[in-house]
Symmetry: C2
Subunit: 213 residues, 2 copies
DNA sequence: CTTCGAGTAGTCAAGTTTGATTAGTGGGGA
DNA sequence: TCCCCACTAATCAAACTTGACTACTCGAAG
């Protein structure tokens, strides 16, 4: 599962109709370039690719109103919306140790109903626990946990991450169950995109360690 | 930093001289295809690329002894060893939320001295703490942590992961300080590669959630 | 009035990743 | 003996990612 597709579909969907630069700006607003591979090239590539696959509909539009080359506007199709929700549900459920996928899902979770998000997150906890069980038993089949030398630290790390992820997910479940946030069908949603011409307060926001490389 | 380079350099180095399939098998033995992008294509690509860049020396070798196309054997060069240690040190120090990098570093940490590993891990803890500080202050500049709506959960997740990572690293430091494992210059090292003809007990080992996709 | 910088919008070549496919060898069963 | 399968070993096209680059407009400073 490529996180860029979820991100781009979600951004286009929130706008109703959006051109590449708008999507690019939203992702920057969300800090997505910090915690995922949301480079301009990847975004435009994803837009074109998904337009080719019928997930988005491309409108060729006249030269831009504000400088630069003519821009193409995209609208999400029914097939695209379907794919969006599929990816979103998967991102909240699956435990695959890629933190960017969960981050993206978190940003869009309010597009689902409160009840469904709770169900998906509970499923996530179960998935983590199952995975933990499998790893711990598979890697100590003979019963001697010391046989792996320092390689055992790998398993240790995975298990620790899994436990920490499960604990965090349980905390989130509690907060949502306690009435936090506004979900689909519960009234005025939290606006997470930039309007046309609205400035981006986080354009040069948090420095992320990955930037140092 | 691409984890595949560290993994391939480390595997070739442990063998002294290795062909692609051997490297591929080691990575599978380590479960690397589970927690990193260690697909065959990536491995062969990395070998060729690094040979072109002078990090590995390629020996054209006669048709394989056991079926299949003729195989090329690789040996690590001085430049390659230098790069290997650079990547290894970086993988243990840097906090970039990509768990595969740390996993790889962990697998090879015993190629360094106990004192150096301790120093690198302490640096890692400091890096995590610094990052945490930056994120928490940057994302609550006005002082109102509730202004972000559900997007605040993103920060929450990052901070939780950072704390959990720091805690785990401290535990590892304690274990190493307590005398665990055998490091460079401390006698017979733990053998982490498959010998020629040795069977791979984990060839179809742990099922990882990522497999489900 | 022209030059510079900042912002807008997107393209492109180079490199990397994916995983299906190719291709040779040896062994077991009909 | 012959065919099929499993294993060994590597290649390849297609897709994806990177981030530098192009190209255009507007406003302000010189």
């Amino acid at each position: 599962m490529s996180v860029i597709r979820l991100l781009v579909l979600g951004a286009v969907r929130q706008h109703g109709r959006a051109h590449g630069y708008q999507v690019r700006n939203d992702l920057e607003y969300w800090g997505a370039h910090e915690w995922s591979n949301a480079q301009p090239g990847s975004i435009y590539h994803a837009l074109k690719q998904m337009a080719k696959q019928g997930l988005l509909h491309a409108h060729e539009v006249a030269p831009s109103t504000a400088g630069g080359p003519p821009r193409t506007e995209y609208e999400i199709t029914d097939k695209g919306a379907e794919e969006y929700f599929r990816l979103l549900r998967e991102s909240l459920t699956a435990y695959d140790q890629k933190p960017d996928v969960l981050s993206a899902g978190l940003g869009f979770m309010v597009d689902l109903s409160r009840a469904e998000v709770l169900a998906l997150l509970r499923e996530r906890v179960t998935a983590i626990e199952t995975w933990r069980e499998t790893v711990t038993t598979s890697y100590t089949p003979g019963g001697d946990p010391g046989q792996f030398g320092h390689i055992g630290e790998l398993m240790n790390l995975w298990v620790h991450s899994a436990d920490s992820g499960a604990e965090w997910t349980r905390g989130l479940i509690d907060r949502i169950q306690g009435g936090a946030y506004v979900f689909a069908g519960e009234g005025e949603p939290f606006v997470g995109v930039l309007g046309e011409g609205e400035e981006n307060p986080y354009a040069t926001g948090v420095r992320h360690p990955r930037d140092d490389h």
